[in-house]
């Protein structure tokens, strides 16, 4: 638990001061002296070296070099949070931890094992997960799956490993097709230096009852993490995938520019849950996309708590008739954070439907922006989309912006949008206090209630973690 100092101010009001308390459990770190490092900055040679070490197929090296060219030729977007604090020349883009991937937890080096033990990863696996992957800096260090899932024909492995296996051609066919390197500057960067990540393949008709989980840990100082997650859920199959991220805090910028590409087949279903709790020196410029075929369904559950700067807009491309998407997200921006989050939806076939429900909270000078785009193409006849977005301002130093765009090119659609912004009603706080609850508790309770539609969608362990994060963020919010 974190250290808190409680002082009594002149007015007699108790004031709880929290120094980054929420993250201290994530903040322990090991010296990265043992790890091999490449030179800072990004050159074709570095990219070649990454590829060489990984013993990749030639097409991948080509892809990397092309992506690097694109990276160098396009500008950073001008509408989002500043990334001036990110000096690309000083980012060590690739750090190889001093271990190879293990599937036996005991053989993982102690310092890394200890890290994941503290984060509760192995326990989680024992208690409710069908499979677990853990990435430490640039490489996967651990991957395992319950035997029962393997017997069903489910593949859950490192993507680099998979590039040499049975699904190599499938990966080549899909890799960075949903997120082409031309999409934006950090997609190009990802294309050039991606490393690690998972490959999941769920065969036709296979339904997995327990979730698979990947945990990402960025331990090295001033490093980048660029994992690539590729998930293919074939027709009539079902999967729940959970992603967790954390990092210790350093006084230099870290960068996360991962990519998640999801392919959902006909009548298939995928739920993708994320609790992101990167440390507050992180630039999280992650890109996630999903394509759904006929009657396929993607459900995004997304909690964004950490990072200094966040750009995160999971995108759903509803390409088949009656495909569905839902996005349930919460973003909590505290001091020094500028989190620009939201989602994108493309209604590109008949009778598709999407529903978006987000909550944003900003506090202590934090900036929280909800940004979305809903596009209905001329093929979207009979489609519908509803967006509901609520923001809560916890004080008047913070900022909450809502920038939802809709581009509708089809007549027979129903597109609805509603957004509200405001603060915790004094009447509610008063009511709870009149029943003997302290102000801080009352406000925490109300914020938890506000977040409830999201937490109820999470597996219990994650819901508890999220409530704890909120509780810790709320401590010291009064006074």
């Amino acid at each position: 638990m974190a250290e808190t100092k409680t002082t009594v101010t002149a007015s007699g009001k108790k004031r709880t001061q929290v120094d980054d308390v929420d993250r201290s459990m994530y903040d322990f770190r090991y010296d990265d002296a043992d790890a091999e490092k490449l030179d800072a900055g990004l050159t074709p040679d570095i990219v070649r070296e990454i590829s060489e070490r990984k013993d990749e197929p030639a097409w991948m090296l080509e892809h990397r070099l092309k992506s690097l060219e694109i990276f160098n030729s396009i500008d950073m977007s001008d509408w989002g949070p500043s990334i001036d604090g990110l000096d690309m020349d000083n980012i060590v883009t690739y750090v190889k931890p001093n271990t190879d991937q293990k599937s036996d937890w005991e053989s993982v080096p102690d310092n890394i094992k200890d890290t994941f033990d503290r984060l509760g990863i192995p326990q989680a696996e024992r208690s409710y997960l069908a499979g677990v992957g853990a990435q430490y800096d640039s490489e996967l260090v651990y991957h395992s799956m319950q035997e029962s899932a393997a017997k069903m024909g489910i593949v859950y492995s490192g993507i680099e490993e998979a590039l040499h296996g049975e699904y190599a051609d499938l990966i080549k066919e899909k890799f960075m097709t949903l997120i082409p390197p031309t999409d934006h500057k950090f997609a190009a960067l990802h294309g050039a230096v991606w490393s690690g990540g998972s490959f999941v393949y769920v065969p036709k008709g296979v339904k997995l009852d327990y979730p698979l989980q990947s945990y990402f840990r960025l331990n090295a100082k001033g490093a980048g993490q660029f994992e690539h997650t590729l998930i293919i859920v074939e027709d009539d199959a079902d999967l729940h995938f959970i992603e967790g991220c954390s990092a210790p805090k350093y006084n230099v910028a870290n960068l996360h520019a991962g990519a998640v590409e999801l392919f959902v087949g006909k009548r298939a279903h995928l739920r993708y849950s994320t609790i992101e709790n990167w440390s507050k020196n992180m630039y999280n410029l992650n890109t996630k996309r999903c394509r759904c075929d006929e009657e396929g369904e993607i459900e995004w559950i997304s909690g964004s708590f950490g990072s200094h700067v966040g750009y995160l807009y999971p995108m759903s491309i509803l390409a088949g008739r009656k495909a569905r998407a839902s996005f349930t997200g919460i973003t909590f921006a505290g001091r020094g954070q500028n989190l620009d989050t939201g989602c994108k939806v493309v209604l590109a076939a008949k009778d598709t439907s999407a529903s978006i429900e987000t909550k944003g909270i900003s506090k202590d000078g934090g900036i929280q922006t909800f940004r979305s785009s809903v596009v209905a193409t001329p093929a979207a006849e009979g489609s519908r989309c509803s967006v509901s977005c609520q923001s809560l301002m916890l004080d008047d130093r913070s900022r909450s912006d809502t920038i939802p765009a809709m581009d509708i090119r089809c007549k027979n659609v129903d597109i609805g949008h509603e957004a509200t912004i405001g603060r915790i009603g004094d009447d509610k706080v008063f009511y709870l206090m009149s029943r003997g609850i302290s102000e801080e508790e009352a406000r925490t309770m109300i914020v938890n209630g506000f977040a409830e539609p999201i937490s109820k969608e999470l597996p219990l362990e994650y819901a508890v973690e999220m409530n704890n994060l909120i509780k810790l963020e709320m401590e010291g919010a009064i006074g």
Partner: protein
């Protein structure tokens, strides 16, 4: 005198931009070359309400003095405290909050503490300057304290020319102004549309304490005309400005309205109705900045898009730190009645004050099921119901017209769209 070809690149830009791929952040206005400058403007207003050319600037300068009295600049102590906070934040949070370009610009406007800097034109400074140049002398309607004035400005489209009016309204404390703006094309049917031209109005409103200003702008230009409707509003304490905009004609129309709700308890209401048919283009930009406590704004936009028309609406409500108790709302309903229409909407709420209520809603698509059943039970097919909604926009505009000139203009437009329309409105 003839114009050269001018393109206004970033007209009607929204304050906080979003993805460029959406192509919604701003618009381009093309001014063809070879137009003559020929304002065909009729003004009717009482002589007593003629103001001096610099009346608006003077009023804003006076308001600046008043505003500074109630909003003193931060003391050295406060500044030091703020700096210390920022420094601590930079320390504690890795370089401070990474503000976006827009967030930095927004802070700079506030830090300037200048009402003139904060004053905006809805279509942007460049478009406003163009119209002002084309309009020649400003029409200045200045209404003395407690008085009430009706004024009317009719701008007639002139083929091959720019016909524009620049209007300032300075409403002193507790005065009332009704301003009717009619942008019309009184050319005979068949004759119009032969040659493109530009119509436009640029209006600045200064509504002093307790003043009531109502503006009704009706645009029923046809043919290939481009119409630009630019407004910038300022409200002092308890002032209220209500604007109704009816956009029926013009191949391309650009409507931009910006408002600074500076005085406490002041209010701006905007009611926009539009019709898009054939391949007409419609562009709307609203930017309302709440500075004063308990200020209110309400944006309502209702439109029907038919044919292959397209429309973009940017609506920004900015709840700025200090506007305690402010309420901003915007609501849009767009009915799409033909394949091939294109609708873009971005209803933005920016907020850095906690004690506020902001909300927006948008409904885009076809007629609601229960309405459709009701209409069907009276014999209307979906197609018939849709065309009824489209023609109703014109009919409603005629019914609601506040002046004869506006009504005549709408009826003339309706008759061109649908012969026999005028019979409905014969006295």
């Amino acid at each position: 005198m003839e114009t050269t070809h001018v393109t206004i690149e970033r007209a009607s830009a929204m304050p906080a931009a979003t993805w460029h791929f959406l192509n919604m952040n701003d618009t381009q206005i093309e001014m063809p070359e070879g137009l003559s400058i020929a304002p065909a403007v009729q003004v009717s207003e009482p002589w007593a309400a003629r103001g001096a050319a610099d009346e608006f600037e003077n009023a804003l300068a006076d308001a600046q003095v008043e505003w500074e009295k109630s909003h003193p600049a931060p003391t050295a102590e406060e500044l030091a405290e703020r700096e210390a906070y920022v420094a601590a934040e930079v320390d504690a949070t890795y370089g401070g909050t990474a503000q976006s370009a827009y967030q930095i610009a927004a802070d700079a406007i506030e830090e300037s503490r200048s009402l003139a800097v904060a004053f905006e034109h809805g279509t942007g400074d460049e478009a406003a300057a163009y119209l002002r140049y084309a309009a020649g002398d400003r029409i200045v309607v200045a209404v003395k304290e407690g008085q009430s004035v009706d004024a009317q400005v009719v701008v007639s489209a002139v083929p091959g020319a720019v016909s524009a009016a620049a209007v300032d309204v300075i409403a002193d404390a507790n005065s009332a102004v009704n301003l009717s703006l009619v942008v019309d094309a009184p050319t005979a049917p068949g004759q119009s549309g032969a040659s493109a031209g530009i119509t436009g109005t640029t209006v600045r409103v200064f509504a002093d304490e307790g003043a009531r200003v109502e503006i009704d702008r009706t645009q029923a230009v046809d043919g290939d005309f481009t119409d630009i409707d630019d407004m910038g509003l300022f409200t002092a304490e308890n002032a209220q400005v209500a604007v109704r905009q009816t956009v029926l004609g013009a191949a391309a129309s650009f409507t931009g309205l910006a408002g600074d709700l500076r005085g406490d308890s002041s209010r701006i209401d905007v009611d926009t109705r539009y019709l898009g048919h054939s391949d007409q283009k419609r562009d709307f930009n609203y930017s309302l900045r709440h500075h004063g406590a308990k200020t209110k704004c309400n944006l309502q936009a209702n439109g029907v898009l038919a044919g292959t028309s397209s429309k973009t609406l940017r609506g920004t409500i900015d709840l700025i730190r200090g506007c305690k108790g402010a309420e901003g709302s915007e609501n849009e309903t767009v009915l799409l009645v033909d394949e091939g229409v294109h609708n873009k909407t971005v209803p933005v709420i920016l907020c850095n004050e906690d004690d506020v209520a902001g909300n927006h809603g948008a409904t885009i698509g076809h007629i609601r099921e229960e309405q459709l059943f009701y209409l069907a039970s009276r014999g209307l097919s979906q197609q018939a119901a849709e065309s009824m909604f489209a023609s109703a926009i014109v009919e409603q505009a005629a019914i609601d017209a506040t002046t004869d000139a506006a009504r005549e203009s709408v009826v003339r437009y309706g008759e061109r769209l649908n012969p026999g329309f005028a019979d409905l409105f014969e006295e």
